[in-house]
Amino acid sequence: MTTISDLHLEHLTDARDAALTALEDESIHILREVVGSFERPVLLFSGGKDSIVMLRLAEKAFSPGRIPFPVMHVDTGHNFPEVIEFRDRRAAELGLDLVVASVQDAIDRGRITERPGQSRNPLQTVPLLDAITDNRFDAVLGGARRDEEKARAKERVFSIRDEFGQWDPRNQRPELWDLYNGRIAPGEHVRIFPLSNWTELDIWRYIARDGIEVPSIYYAHEREVFDRDGMVLAVTPFTPPRDGEQVRVETVRYRTVGDATCTGAVRSTARTVDEVIAETATSRLTERGATRADDRASEAAMEDRKREGYF
C-alpha cells in the first residue's frame, strides 16, 4: 500500500484544501437555495463550532450583502458562560437578530416538566417547536453533520418535518443531484443541514484555514472537574459534585459544546487550532461517544429524539 511518505506533502495539503473548498462551495449553494426558496428562514446558532462555521459560510454566501435571516438559540439555561458570551458577541458583530428559545421559560410556563437529575437536553424539543411556530419559520438551518451519529447519516440535506415537528426516516424525500425540493404544506417546516457532508476534522481544518474564532473552552485550559458516568464533567452551578465524586483540577478541552449537564470534557493539552487538528486526527473516539451522555441512552437514542422533533 502506498504510504504518506510516497506522496509529496505539498500535494496532500492541496488535495485537502481542494476537498474543503468543494465542501464550502456545496454549503454556500445550499444556503443560497434556502434564501431563494423560503419566506422565513432561521439559522440555529448555539455558539458551538459547527454553528460558528455555518455563520461564516452564511457570511460568504451573501457577501458583500448581510446575512438575510435571524439566528436562534435553544437555551437550556445550563450553558457554559464563555459560550453564551461568544454567542451574543458574534450575533452583535454581524448585526443579526438573535431569537432565544428558553427551556427555563417553557418549564416556568408549564409547557414541559423538568425531571430531577436528568439533563435538559431532550427538553429542547418543545421550546424549539414552539419558537418555530410562533415566529412562523419555514426553514430552520442547523449545523448537524451526518458523521456525528448513525441516524444522522440517514438525514437528508432538506429534511421535511410535519406539523408536529416529526421526522419520518422511512418516508423521506429522495434527494438527487443538487436539486433540493423544499416544497411544504402549511404547518410543515424544513430542517436544512448545509454541513451534512462535513466531518469533525473538516470543521477544524476550515476553522484553521479561515482563522475563525471559537469559544475558549474548545482549547485546553485548567478546570475543576470530576468523574460521572464515565465522563469528565465540569463543576458548574448546574452540575455540583455529588457525595463521593472527587473534584480535581485538570487540563481539559471540549469537543462539543452543549448543555453543561451532559457534555463532558476530554483530557487534552491542545492549546492551538493546529494542536486540536492533530488531536482530532488521531482520536480513537467520536466526539459524541467521548462527551455526550444523552446519546448513550440506547442504540437508537438519537433516532428516537429526532423522530419527536429534536434537532
Partner: protein, 418 residues
C-alpha cells in the same frame, strides 16, 4: 482538481454490502473505538461470535431489526490521499429509487456481486442505473471469494460476464477486484489467498482512480439562485448574480446569454467573499457581475454564448419514478431544473425500460421504481442540456403540486437530429 471522490455502492440484499463498507471503514482506521465497542456489544446481544461490521452502517432501528439497509446513508472517510463521500444505497428491489438517488451524484459506483451466485438480476439493474445516471467509472467488487476457495476461474467467469454487460450498456470504464468483505481480503490489505490477482486493493483503487470531470461537455452554465444587492453605504451600486457553476468554466470577459430571455452580455467580474476570480470551474459557488444592466432573476440560466442551449417548451426525458404514485399522460407536475420551476404536463409516455433486460416496452403508466421515457409540455420555456453532456443542467425533478413530494427524477434526452 477536487480530491473529494463521491462513491455509490450497489449490491443485492445479502451480498455483503454493509459488511464491505464496514470493513472499508474499519481497516482504513476510520472507525472510532466507541463506535466499534457499540457494534461489538450489539453483536454479542444478537448472539454473534464476532463483531458484525454491517451494524456500523445500518443506522435505523428497523434496519438493525431486519438486517437490511432501507435508506441511503452517507458515510465519510478520509485517507492521507483522498476524502470520500460514500452513498450507501440499498440493494432491495423496492428501493431501486434509492440507488438512483445515490448514483445521481456519484463519480464512481461500486457494484457488489456474490462470487457464489455471479451476476444476478439486481447486478444488471445496478449496472444499468449507474450507466443511465452517467456514473463515470464502475468498480466490480466480486465478494465472498472465501466461499469459492478464492477461485480464479470463478472470478474470471464473473468478470467476463460483466464485461459483456458493460459493453451492452456503453460503460467505458470498469475495474474488477476480488474481495472478501467478511475477512478483509483485498479490501484495504492485500490478500495472500488471492496471490493470482495482481491488481490493487479496493481502497488503493478508490484512492487513485482519477476523479472524472463533473463539468460535462458543454460550455459554462450558471443557474441563478438569487440577486445580491446590498444597497449599503459601502456597496451602493453592487449587483451580482449568485450561483454555482453547473457545467464548464466561466471566465471574466466571456460573452454569456441570459436564458430564457436571450439577452446577451459579458461577465464583468466573478466574486467570492475571499476575493475576485478570473475564472470559476464547475462546482464553484460565486457571484457574477455582468457588463450590462440586464434583467436577471432566480430561475434564469447564464450560459456561455457559443453553445448556449435553446430554451424549449417541450422536452423528452428519461424519468425514474420515486414515489408511490403513477405517472400517466395528462398528469400535471411542477418541473424543477436547476433553479427554475415551471408547470409541466405529461404529454405522453413513450415506453418503459426493463433495466434487467434493457428492452423497451409499451406502457400507459410508470409506477414506483419504473424508468421510462416521457414527453413533457412546459408552461414556460426552460433552458436545459442533454444529460449525457451535462449532469448539472440536464437533470430535473417532477414535483407533486399538492403534496410537494418529489415524484420522479429525470434526465433530459438528446433531441433527435433534425
Amino acid at each position: 482538481m477536487s480530491d473529494l471522490l463521491r462513491v455509490a455502492t450497489a449490491g443485492s440484499v445479502d451480498d455483503g454490502k454493509s459488511t464491505l463498507i464496514g470493513r472499508l471503514l474499519h481497516d482504513s482506521k476510520n472507525v472510532f473505538a466507541d463506535q466499534f465497542d457499540a457494534v461489538e456489544a450489539a453483536s454479542r446481544r444478537r448472539g454473534l461470535d464476532a463483531a458484525d461490521l454491517a451494524l456500523l452502517t445500518d443506522g435505523l432501528r428497523a434496519e438493525r431489526e431486519q438486517g437490511i439497509t432501507i435508506d441511503v446513508a452517507y458515510r465519510y472517510f478520509a485517507t492521507p490521499r483522498r476524502t470520500f463521500v460514500l452513498a450507501d444505497t440499498p440493494g432491495h428491489v423496492q428501493y431501486t429509487r434509492n440507488m438512483v438517488t445515490g448514483a445521481s451524484t456519484a463519480d464512481v459506483a461500486v457494484v457488489l456481486v456474490d462470487a457464489r451466485h455471479g451476476l444476478v438480476e439486481q447486478s444488471h439493474r445496478h449496472a444499468a442505473v449507474a450507466a443511465l445516471l452517467g456514473v463515470g467509472h464502475i468498480v466490480l467488487a466480486v465478494n465472498k471469494m472465501d466461499l469459492v476457495d478464492f477461485s480464479e476461474e470463478v472470478y474470471d467467469r464473473i468478470v467476463a460476464d460483466f464485461d459483456v454487460l458493460a459493453a451492452e450498456l456503453g460503460i467505458r470504464s470498469v475495474t474488477a477486484i476480488p474481495v472478501s468483505a467478511l475477512h478483509g481480503d483485498n479490501v484495504v490489505e492485500p490478500s495472500q489467498k488471492l496471490g493470482w490477482y495482481a491488481g490493487q486493493t479496493l481502497l488503493d483503487h478508490l484512492e487513485t482512480v482519477p476523479v472524472p470531470s463533473r463539468g460535462g461537455e458543454v460550455g459554462a452554465r450558471l443557474p441563478v439562485q438569487l440577486v445580491i444587492r446590498p444597497r449599503s453605504a459601502e456597496h451602493p451600486d453592487y449587483r451580482a448574480y449568485a450561483g454555482r457553476v453547473a457545467a464548464g468554466t466561466l471566465r471574466v470577459g466571456d460573452e454569456v446569454v441570459v436564458l430564457p430571455s436571450g439577452r446577451r452580455t459579458r461577465v464583468a467580474g466573478i466574486d467570492t467573499h475571499d476575493g475576485s476570480l478570473d475564472e470559476a470551474a464547475t462546482g464553484r459557488s460565486v457571484a457574477v457581475r455582468l457588463e450590462d444592466d440586464v434583467d436577471v432573476a432566480r430561475g434564469d440560466l447564464l450560459a456561455a454564448a457559443p453553445d448556449a442551449p435553446e430554451p424549449v417548451r417541450q422536452l423528452t426525458g428519461r424519468v425514474c419514478v420515486l414515489a408511490e404514485r403513477q405517472v400517466r399522460a395528462g398528469d400535471r407536475f411542477r418541473l424543477r431544473a436547476g433553479t427554475r420551476e415551471v408547470k409541466a404536463i405529461v404529454g405522453s409516455i413513450a415506453d418503459r425500460l426493463d433495466v434487467t433486460t434493457l428492452k423497451r416496452e409499451d406502457a400507459d403508466a410508470l409506477e414506483l421504481n419504473d424508468i421510462g421515457d416521457v414527453m413533457l409540455r412546459l408552461a414556460e420555456p426552460v433552458a436545459v442540456d442533454p444529460y449525457a453532456l451535462s449532469r448539472g443542467t440536464g437533470s430535473f425533478l417532477l414535483i407533486d403540486e399538492a403534496t410537494g413530494a418529489t415524484v420522479a427524477a429525470g434526465m433530459v434526452e438528446q433531441p433527435p437530429a433534425v
